[in-house]
Amino acid sequence: MSILVYIEHAEGKVKKTSLEAVSFAHALSGKTGEGEVVAVALGTVSADELAAVGKAGAAKVLHSSDERLNAGVIQAHATAVAQAFAAVGAKTLVLAKSSLGDAVAARLAIKLNAGLVSNVVELPSTSAGYVVKRSIYTGKAFAETTVTTENKILAVKKNAVDLKTDGTEAVVENLSVTISDSDFASKITSTERATGEVLLPEADIVVSGGRGMKGPENWGMLEDLAKTLGAATGCSKPVSDIGWRPHHEHVGQTGVKVAPSLYVAVGISGAIQHLAGVNSSKCIVVINKDPEAPFFKAADYGIVGDAFEIVPKLTDALKAEL
């Protein structure tokens, strides 16, 4: 028996969120005695990179290097993962919540007749039934969810467990999968991705700007701050609606939900819909000229004042300190 983890990679590197999912599965197996953790990786990625997944807790990585799987074609990935699940005799599939992961997990729930829980925030409790805690109401509450099926899928939220880094190298084995052409019927014609930057949904630090930044020409100072912190940049909804920033940077109820250690909000009022996207942050810093801005109620640290004056000073102070 083993626990299967579906891992994703981009630009030759396994995603950090996927490594967290491996660590989650490792801790879960320690609890349920489900045996070793086996990861499944699809498409072109180096054997060295895959062996390193062992550090996070995997004993083995099954790899299909079928090039057609390089593009995240949802149906084809679901078929491949279902075959890996059967091959290792798993009862539990763990994966990190993501754009592709969610889409693949939903199809797998039907293929594997598995109870699926998304936004899992901690290890399941198994003392009375199989009960999984997940985040609901966009981070405003939690639900204990009872899974009644033999097969289970857990889509894990960022920071649900600490990343394990002290494991040994994993054994990488070839996985051969049979995928029908109909699973490749939809075509990904092109991909646009911000390269070399820290990606917002996975970032450990986020610097976000709101309408208080006055215009896109003023984002340079936020980018400087972000660069100094090694952070991703985000924004409020109106900012992406007016086109000051790209849509994938929009944080909140209807945008990206982030869960960084540090969220720095500059010139954002803190409307409830914005807060819904940031309430899983460990620490929130708010810079706003209005002392009554609602964001201060959700913040750990705040500075009342003009962003145009404070942000460059903060960047300088950080450069001096770090």
């Binding site: 889409a103 699926l116 609901i136 990606l199 994938h248 409830i272 640290y301």
Partner: protein
């Protein structure tokens, strides 16, 4: 073309989230219910596509009688008819089974819904329905255009988007900026009263992952304010107190 839009009936985004009955039930006291914001995007795009192709647009909700005003609102926005599957939406699997059953019966070629509901945030129903019906499913879709039987889409991925082409029939979980939310006008509201809203019985289906109890997160402590002329103080606190640097 026959289009189906599945909508959720969820608390307004400004609602205070509270629970009753020993934390086993959502407290609806004082809560206003709306069409899920993502579903609202799906509906808005569906109205445009229906007008473009001259087909029909049905909205469906799995819910008890109290969701009917939400379905009427969808009719006012522009759907032609509505189906309410009479059951409490117990889990994603239960809901997906209901949708798949009625979608198959109705022979819909394009099924749209929000990328996720804003109550349980599962984001799984579209994929489940897709697998149940043997149709491709895509989410989160931020652009969707029809050219004959070909559907051209953009799907959001971490840090960007991917452009796709697929054939009808298919299912998409939608998000902005696929279309702009539509506000019902007076004529829409009047005509919604007489458009058909059919109540159908749920198919018998066991659940797989049902919520059994709820909790609120611990209350946040109060903010520590730092003087704007002592920015370096903030850096020290982040480093030594919050330990996030």
């Amino acid at each position: 073309m026959k289009i189906l839009v599945c909508i959720t009936h969820v608390p307004d985004t400004t609602s205070k989230i509270q629970f009753t009955a020993n934390n086993t039930k959502f407290d609806t006291t004082g809560v206003q219910f709306i069409i899920g914001p993502y579903d609202d995007y799906a509906l808005a795009r569906a109205v445009e596509l229906r007008d473009q192709t001259g087909g029909s647009l049905t909205v469906l909700n799995v819910g008890e009688a109290e969701t009917e005003p939400t379905l009427r609102k969808a009719l006012a926005i522009g759907a032609d008819d509505a189906i309410r599957v009479n059951a409490f939406p117990k889990d994603s699997y239960f809901v997906a089974k209901q949708i798949a059953h009625y979608a198959k019966e109705g022979g819909y070629e394009l099924i749209l819904m929000g990328r996720e509901s804003i109550d349980f945030n599962g984001g799984m129903v579209h994929g489940m329905v897709g697998e149940l019906l043997g149709m491709p499913s895509f989410s989160p879709v931020m652009k969707l255009d029809l050219e004959g039987n070909t559907v051209k889409m953009a799907r959001e991925i971490e840090g960007g988007k991917e452009y796709l082409e697929a054939q009808l029939p298919l299912i998409a979980g939608c998000q902005e900026p696929i279309a702009e939310w539509k506000i019902p006008n007076m004529r829409g509201i009047m005509s919604a009263r007489t458009k058909p809203l059919n109540v159908v019985e749920a198919v018998t289906q066991k659940t797989q992952a049902e919520a059994s109890s709820y909790q609120l997160p611990p209350a946040k402590g109060s903010v520590k304010l730092i003087d704007k002329d002592q920015v370096s103080e903030l850096v020290k606190l982040l480093k030594n107190e919050a330990k996030v640097l």
